[in-house]
């Protein structure tokens, strides 16, 4: 049964919520500015609950099954984090309250800044960016501001490997800089020769994802960083893949100058069906003054017992605000709670088991699926969803068929440098039993691809919906529905 749209459930005069009457004398409404109609649905609370509960059941989610979506770090989201973020003292504080009234919030943000600094080896962190891509544009703007502050305005290029996530070039453009693409070599590393050629005094920075989107640790990371630094550029780290590096290596120690974190990946804040995330940016000391703000600082003792211990400040050369208020505090609470439970030993264990799980899947699947860059990987790896013996079958077919086994498909068609890519990231929270069941399904599908490709082409079979017609969606472009009255009127 198809779930109707919320507007289809509407009936004129139906109420969804009880509200108080005004307890003050009403004031005349502003003339000429009052709207005549308000085309919202009219439904009862029960309608709303049933509607969204039923809709929810149509989703695959971490809490219903394995979700090995490469580059997305779909790890389990501990329930205690949700409770923490909903505590009254957190959820009902206003971002513009006086510092003295929000010391708990500021203390939490301060600790989170400190921990992120320590984990990644940086001198300063701003929690303001809203997501990974937001962290990227922030980071690029910091790099730009830094060079200009040095009086060096000619650095307008950002070098980006061809395996990079689409946000890297897009963020670069948004910051007003130019993208220069770098090829990868046969082992999945940056092509050092090409890098050398690209390095000159117009290079503002290299954007490096390490481990890269193939799940591989850059084998020449030291040479790469040195090369960039030698030509006066900086190294930006896309921290989306930090789940492989906790307690393993600090990007700052490798010479990275800027890095964004994805709290919604590495630090397990839930993805929410697309967001919200949180993309703090960490920087080396020379860049600290350029961070967006406000950031939290600990107040020096000033003798007074009553003084607030933490306060918000704007870094001296700040690129400015990148968001109206203080960042996604609700996500900060979740990440704080998570990190506090892990501690030092727990963080290292996260990466160890994320990397172990990915390598285990790689080892068990490499005979069935071609793994183009087949070496010890980090937290994920990329296989190909194609076989010579099954000419009509594509990665998409494998993906859709996996749904019939109760699994969410891996990321498809990314990174772009692998044909028919299936990018598999199991995360550390999945058990060997789950991975074994996934391997079993993948092997069955590989066999079906040869024996009975139609079963793949027509997949999924057991999900509530079959394949959706994306071409039609783009052609007809129905992006919004209007209430029945309006449709009649209009």
């Amino acid at each position: 049964m198809i779930e109707p749209l919320i507007y289809d459930l509407s009936s004129p005069g139906r109420l969804g919520v009880s509200l108080p009457e005004t307890d003050v004398p009403p004031h005349a409404l502003p003339e000429g500015l009052v709207r005549e109609d308000l085309p919202l649905p009219e439904v009862a609370e029960l309608d709303v609950v049933r509607h969204f509960v039923r809709l929810s059941q149509l989703n695959h989610a971490i809490d219903t099954g394995f979700y090995p979506l490469g580059s997305c770090t779909m790890k389990y989201n501990p329930k205690v984090n949700e409770d923490a973020a909903r505590l009254t003292g957190f959820a009902f504080t206003h971002p513009l309250q006086e510092g003295s009234t929000v010391q708990g919030n500021l203390a939490l943000m301060y600790s989170l800044q400190e921990w992120l600094k320590e984990i990644a080896g940086f001198a300063a962190v701003s929690l303001q960016p809203a997501a990974g891509a937001h962290g990227e544009v922030t980071g690029i703007l910091i790099i730009r501001a830094y060079h200009r502050h040095r009086g060096d305005a000619k650095r307008t290029k950002i070098l980006i490997p061809d395996s990079a996530h689409g946000t890297n070039p897009a963020s670069t453009s948004m910051a007003g800089l130019q993208v220069v693409e770098l090829p990868s070599d046969a082992r999945g590393n940056i092509d050092l020769e090409a890098l050398r050629r690209a390095c000159d005094d117009t290079v503002a920075a290299l954007m490096l994802t390490n481990p890269n989107t193939l799940g591989l640790f850059e084998e020449h990371v030291r040479e790469v960083v040195d090369q960039i630094h030698a030509c006066g550029g900086l190294v930006y780290g896309d921290g989306a893949n930090m789940n492989a590096l906790l307690g393993v290596v600090r990007p700052g120690d490798l010479g990275f100058d800027v890095l964004h974190f994805n709290l919604h990946k590495t630090f397990s804040t839930p993805h929410g069906g697309g967001g919200p995330g949180s993309g703090p940016v960490g920087v080396a000391a020379p860049l600290a003054d350029f961070l967006p703000g406000p950031v939290v600082e600990a107040v020096e003792e000033n003798g007074s017992e009553e003084a607030p211990l933490y306060r918000l400040v704007m870094p001296a050369q700040s690129i400015g605000r990148v968001k109206a208020f203080l960042g996604h505090f609700g996500m900060h609470v979740r990440a704080y709670t998570y990190m506090r439970m892990q501690g030092k030993s727990g963080l290292r264990a996260i990466s160890d088991h994320a990397v172990l799980n990915a390598n285990y899947l790689r080892a068990r699947l490499r005979d069935t699926y071609h793994v183009p860059f087949d070496r010890i990987c980090m937290h994920e790896f990329v296989a190909e969803g194609r076989w010579e013996q099954a000419p009509g079958v594509r990665a998409l077919d494998v993906a859709k068929r996996l749904m019939d086994f109760g699994f969410h498909p891996p990321t498809n068609y990314f990174p772009l440098i692998v044909h028919e890519a299936l990018m598999i990231e199991p995360t550390e929270t999945e058990s060997k039993e789950t991975l074994d069941a996934f391997v079993q399904a993948m092997k069955t599908i590989a066999q079906e691809a040869r024996d009975d490709p139609e079963i793949l082409h027509n997949a999924p079979h057991t999900t509530p919906f079959g394949r959706l017609d994306e071409v039609r969606a783009a052609k007809e472009l129905v992006l919004c529905c209007r209430p029945v009255e309006m449709e009649k009127a209009g």
């Binding site: 919202l40 809490d63 971002p95 800089l177 591989l216 069906g273 963080l347 919004c480 529905c481």
Partner: protein, 447 residues
């Protein structure tokens, strides 16, 4: 090791399958000298210990469930029907990713489609994206849309000074690498006429706020006509809750409407996560930032939904994308969809009216307190600026003693408005609270 299911036996079997002898061996590619740093981090805490710790942190704050709150300035203390959070807690919603695989994501997809529809119907616009980070970044990306629309031929942006100061700052942050001239907001108190005077053939976009930062509401038809006559786009930053009562910006022929969706069922949460609204006319849809959900059918003939017009986005178009946005505010969009559904036509209107009446009751009362005045002229919605007899910080300190969170110090952003306090009123403020505020203000003027 919380949340890691591996038993020692599992680990050994898996290492053997991989062909390494230990976990450490997995990291050969990592330079040895910096491998396995000794991190200076606290020891792990158990779940019960961490809950005690975060509870203590939370209770170290003053919150709006225990103090009366008259602070607004872009984030508002509204009633959130219980049902909203009950839906957000559905595991299938909050632990799903972006709906890249529509066959197993129809819950998210249909919800977003409904969100888009609700926001379109509320603003009167043709098309809404699936959300942006917040109101400020949505405004910044509206500027990008305007620049793209003019294909680099126009590069001036006119900002009303009555746009939230943070929003204007964010626009400037975003535009610092572009060749864009931004002006119009040099002084606190110039109106639309000043913007009209500044229009020229370089103007890509004019942006105003409605209700504006000071709470004012005004008809922007004349401005819109002038802007369009000059070949520029008009962007209106809205408080969507006010649109429960006020004419939608489509009535002024706005081209882009952005705003902060937080008032629609999202907790204050010390500033985030909130919800960036981003809507426009059909003609600009291909220049729009962010995800869009469109209706289609599946292989079985069922109506269904997919992400559409993806060639605008970074994962397809990379450096040529309309924006870099990837992760958005999905769950917050869901919150506002649930909120708008359950409030409905009558509920949203009623809440907007309650806000309006309470603010006007307060304004009348504050006007009568010696030393204070109402700075606003003309109509306002649920916020206004009170002239104060002394620095706002001093007054707020006294209000705190009365368990009142006072208003925003407008002088922070507008030096001309030193000793002016922006006060916000919502359905959460009872008459009694407002009366208490008024007498506390009076008291504060004496001290």
């Amino acid at each position: 090791m919380a949340y890691i299911p591996h038993t020692e036996r599992d680990r050994q079997a898996m290492l053997a399958a991989v062909g390494v002898g230990s976990l450490d061996e997995l990291y050969q590619a990592v330079p040895r000298d910096v491998r396995f740093p000794d991190l200076d981090l606290p020891e792990p805490l158990s779940e019960m210990e961490v809950m005690a710790e975060v509870q203590a942190l939370a209770e170290a704050n003053v919150d709006t469930r225990h103090y009366a709150c008259f602070l607004g300035a872009g984030a508002y203390n509204h009633f959130i029907p219980s049902v909203v959070d009950h839906i957000l807690r559905r595991n299938e919603f909050y632990t799903a990713y972006t709906p890249y695989q529509p066959e197993v994501s129809q819950g998210t997809l249909q919800s977003i489609f409904e969100y888009q529809s609700l926001i379109c119907n509320l603003t009167g616009m043709d098309v809404s994206n699936a959300s942006h980070y917040d109101g400020a970044t949505a405004l910044a990306e509206a500027v990008t849309l305007a620049l793209a629309h003019h294909r680099g031929k126009r590069s001036t942006l006119l900002l009303s000074p009555a746009i939230h100061p943070h929003y204007r700052q964010v626009v400037r942050t975003y535009m610092q690498g572009m060749q864009v001239k931004i002006h119009g907001d040099e002084s606190c108190c110039t109106g639309p006429d000043d913007l009209i005077r500044r229009l020229d053939d370089q103007t890509a976009m004019v942006a105003v706020q409605y209700p504006d930062f000071f709470g004012h509401v005004a008809d922007f038809r004349a401005l819109a006509a002038a802007v369009h006559a000059a070949g520029a786009l008009l962007c209106v930053v809205v408080n969507p809750l006010a649109l429960g009562l006020l004419k939608p910006p489509s009535a002024f022929d706005a081209d882009v409407v952005v705003g902060e969706g937080q008032p629609l069922g999202i907790p204050l949460s010390f500033g985030g996560p909130y919800l960036g609204l981003f809507t426009t006319k059909n003609e600009y849809v291909r220049k729009m930032a962010g995800r869009l959900v469109g209706q289609t059918v599946d292989s079985r003939g069922q109506r269904g939904f997919v992400l559409t017009l993806t060639p605008r986005e970074q994962h397809i178009r990379r450096e040529k994308a309309t924006s870099n946005i990837c992760t958005n505010q999905g769950l917050m969009a869901l919150a506002s969809a649930v909120y708008l559904s359950v409030m409905g036509k009558q509920g949203l209107r009623k809440v907007a009216e309650l806000c309006y009446h309470k603010a006007h009751y307060a304004a009348e009362a504050i006007r009568r307190v010696p030393g204070y005045g109402v700075w606003n002229e003309g109509e306002f919605f649920h916020e206004f600026v009170a002239k104060c007899p002394k620095p706002v910080a001093e007054i707020n300190e006294i209000l705190l003693e009365h368990e009142i969170i006072g208003g925003y110090d407008v002088g922070t952003d507008y030096p001309e408005l030193k000793d002016h306090m922006l006060l916000a009123f919502t359905e959460m403020n009872s008459k009694e609270e407002i009366d208490d505020l008024v007498s506390a203000l009076e008291e504060a003027s004496h001290d």
